[in-house]
Symmetry: C2
Amino acid sequence: MSKLTDLPKRILIGRALRSDRLGETLLPKRIALPVFASDPLSSVAYAPGEVLLVLSIAGVSAYQYSPWIAAAVVVLMFTVVASYRQNVHAYPSGGGDYEVANTNLGPRAGLTVASALLVDYVLTVAVSISSGVENLGSAVHFVIEHKVLSAVAIILLLTLMNLRGVRESGKLFAIPTYIFVFGVFTMIAWGAFKGLVLDETMRAPTAEFDIEPEQQGLAGLAMVFLLLRAFSSGCAALTGVEAISNGVPAFRKPKSRNAATTLLLMGLLAVTMFCGIIGLAMASNVRMAENPAHDLILDGRPVGPDYVQDPVISQVAAAVFGEQTFFFVLLAAATALVLFLAANTAYNGFPLLGSILAQDRYLPRQLHTRGDRLAFSNGIVLLAGAAMLLVWVYDADSTKLIQLYIVGVFVSFTLSQTGMVRHWNRHLKTERDRAARRRMIRSRAINAFGAFFTGLVLVVVLVTKFTHGAWVALLGMVIFYVTMSAIRRHYDRVSEEIAAPDEPSDDSVRPSRVHSIVLVSKVHRPTLRALAYAKLMRSDKLEALSIDVDPVETTALKEEWDRRGINIPLKILHSPYREITRPIVEYVKSLRRESPRDAVSVIIPEYVVGHWWEHVLHNQSALRLKGRLLFTPGVMVTSVPYQLQSSELAKKRAKKRQEWNAPGSVRRGPVNEQAKEPSGRT
Amino acid sequence: MSKLTDLPKRILIGRALRSDRLGETLLPKRIALPVFASDPLSSVAYAPGEVLLVLSIAGVSAYQYSPWIAAAVVVLMFTVVASYRQNVHAYPSGGGDYEVANTNLGPRAGLTVASALLVDYVLTVAVSISSGVENLGSAVHFVIEHKVLSAVAIILLLTLMNLRGVRESGKLFAIPTYIFVFGVFTMIAWGAFKGLVLDETMRAPTAEFDIEPEQQGLAGLAMVFLLLRAFSSGCAALTGVEAISNGVPAFRKPKSRNAATTLLLMGLLAVTMFCGIIGLAMASNVRMAENPAHDLILDGRPVGPDYVQDPVISQVAAAVFGEQTFFFVLLAAATALVLFLAANTAYNGFPLLGSILAQDRYLPRQLHTRGDRLAFSNGIVLLAGAAMLLVWVYDADSTKLIQLYIVGVFVSFTLSQTGMVRHWNRHLKTERDRAARRRMIRSRAINAFGAFFTGLVLVVVLVTKFTHGAWVALLGMVIFYVTMSAIRRHYDRVSEEIAAPDEPSDDSVRPSRVHSIVLVSKVHRPTLRALAYAKLMRSDKLEALSIDVDPVETTALKEEWDRRGINIPLKILHSPYREITRPIVEYVKSLRRESPRDAVSVIIPEYVVGHWWEHVLHNQSALRLKGRLLFTPGVMVTSVPYQLQSSELAKKRAKKRQEWNAPGSVRRGPVNEQAKEPSGRT
């Protein structure tokens, strides 16, 4: 069946590109930064806006708290960066959150982190694409008018690119990411210059608006709750920080040091951009509301449902550069592009994590080996499908989607950091060198603070966002968790069932002789080849077997057999109902009954064809027969292929498919590199 | 993939019934009649109405021609019956129209007939179901209000029944058919008694209506054309007459005589019912119009689009028995049921013809062998899909569908009868016995007249109906013809490619030795079994091969190998990119390069599992590897299955599936019966 779907798939997805072996190209820091940081850097495109949006519930006056919230996010960011710098040094083999939690806290914690990360990848796609569409929409109005359609189209495009296995290159990530960073910094600098030196007033497009508070006169606990909610939303800026800790093997040497430096650099860039945008937003009087249609007031009237609330970064750009100026459009485009790249990282991370989970038998084994295009493709299609569903359900509204987003991130942060504390505890038990012990104790303190702080944020996120959508993310995690546990249980059960007994003689009755049967329908080249091969195998008994479904054909076969003097006895089984499978299976069973110690070898000549429709026309009975024989104990089934000319086609296709480039290769680094380094795995 | 679709299919279709072998139950005439005649007998439910409908175009006055048209149909019916009685005697092996045309007129004629019959089967379903719904609708109004939906629902029901492989029984056909025949005869007798003896006036529900002629004052050629068109529509009564000639082997002995008698009986019943209904319709002043909304006039005004024109048989029943009386409802129900049975005959005939065509390699070979549920299922789904499409496009309107119907029937009638003339000519060349010659000459005369008359009708049908829809049927025939020719050409090309050379030594280099490779990932029972079997085969060289995708696992494997003292050398291939397929294929190719005269035998341990989802979790790499190895010349691939406990489940399922009962078994008769009889095939 998979053959049947092959053609339309190939038409859509095209031929896989031939990739050069990329194992030798390790990443310098200047390339590693954009490869790993497009996700956290791009989140400054929406995180500041979300903070303002939540604060607006209490009215414009609440905007005064935004610097405090920004400060809290900065502290959190540095805590997380400092924590992960410890991970990177402790696990140079690329121990991501899953491995750290799994190794130090046990399989349940590991699986919880894995579930959280899987949900996160889906949300990374949904949020980044939605936000990208919103940013693009501030420059190109068509996009915002067909928001869901545009988002779905871009997800489809990314999916096709990844299914096709486009060769990843550092440059692909570097150029837009650096343009984006450069653009944001230029904007901040120019804005600061205008505001502080030239003392010009910058006015955002929404500066004239007033905000109708959804909840009047919030105070006390309610206000604290709102501030915490705003902080939770701001934490969206931290998503994707952990990516580098997975990708250490892809760095140039000294790997851990370079990775740690890149991590720090990323943190610095992110917080500067985050704070700069918040600052400019305050200076230019950006007004954002959770429910703009009702809450934004212009000239005493709500702006109504047709109003489109542009992202904060685009409003700030309008205030600094002017609307629809060159820099404005460039920044909008770069922002959208970086957000789409951020979504693409999920396409890389999903199969990468899948591969690790497959090694631990939480997912089908074939995900572990590379080049298994089918398995990767299924993963990518699953990811894209889930993301499209979310985009569709939530109208491609990044604000709504962000409610779901941060739970998973902080589940894995918290468990990973807790795991690191255990890691240091364990090492401290054996370490005697004082300098090393000091370093470890310091690392442990950092990780412990990280675990505490991220754990606190997790609680805050859960409390403030549960009813706003976080429950959906939790539900997704539970589904992943249950499914993966079930797969693991299945593999464990099978592995127990097939475990080799300790004494080699234990395994019931060993076969002593083998009786080979070559299935024959006509005397043609495939049959002759199968007969020749069967003779080579020197089994104890060899016979040819034909099913009589048509007396005329059977007579012709017998005559041909004699005429050619084939020195293998030909047995004819009568089949009054023109069945093929049943008589053969019954004959094989009767052989087994007669001499249970013998094995039966069934040799089937097969045509190898090239087109999918040829499969429909050939080998169907052979396939079904093989399927049935596999259930018969004591039987082995041998296919002797005969390659028809048309099979050349399929051979080439299969080769091409094998040269396909699995997504995530750049960040995964070569396997032998991983193997050479001391591994933190147990 | 087919496994994945298995579950929903099974939920829908349920488990196949266990069928007793039915080969021994041959049909007595009283059962054979309803089995084979439900199609032609049921067509009297719509054919008389179609005649009146066409005549109404020239106004009510044209109804006076209906007895003449009925007479022409009767003559035609007896001609066709007489002709097929010759077929039945000449081809006791069940030579249907396809075989007769193929044998005597060559493959092109045969294929034309086959295409015509295939189109016909689709139309039998569409027309019979639509007409059945109309008849049922005369008693149950809900059905007529949701006509297309009801028709599609009934087609789906029949499809499910046939996919499930319900055991056919003669009784299933006998009871409704006899009730229907009895009901129609009672109606005719009672109507005649009322009209002729009691001299009561019977008034159909439409007797008060007037008809606005669509074409005023038709005369001369135009009138002749209209009459011919009415006659063409009346010919719908002849559809299905040829069914008996396919089914001779299913009759009790003397087969041919019994079949000929049944054929005659069927003809007599059909014409009596046809004429009786036309007569009663005239007596009760039934009024039918092609376009009732505009052309039927009541009190000087058209009846409008809400008017539902009931079938003629139901209007006559209303006139004779009274509307909604017991007999009226009984007859409506029996008519609908017989029409549904008639549709069911297409479900039987389609795969039966497919099986014969497959033997001649016009369709995939697997259709030829029985018990190939998948192949039958595909045929049934194709049939049902095409019929549903027609029902949907033509609003389940039997009048519109009949325009398409009769072309195919008369194509096959004409070619079959022409073929019979050739048949007799050929036999007359060698036959010397005078009595036999006399019989043959008489048969030839009958067949020649039959060919002439049906050919004439074919021309009439084509001329009068081409633009009314016959072109659709012709297009369908062309599509079938082209597809089947292409399949045949493919098989011929392959058969030429694989034809065994005459000198056995011709076939390039014969392999001289065999090098066996057992693929190993871990030491467990499946591996141990594969190794044991591989040893039995005594190949010239035997080694175990493992791919190093994980250094830790590979080391463990080597240790285990040594610990157990397995006396087969273990070769490790390194795979830096964690690929499995490529290193193995390249290794096999390198072996072939080193010694091109050797064959390579790759032995793969395989798990056999029970659930579809287990397939996703296991054997994927083995499957893909097998797929790739089949393209490598000089390789044979052996699966050594290890049956997991869960495989018991799948084994049972496979068994059940095998015991499935192919539709059309009753009418096909047992194979050995066919083989024993002298065959008319060349």
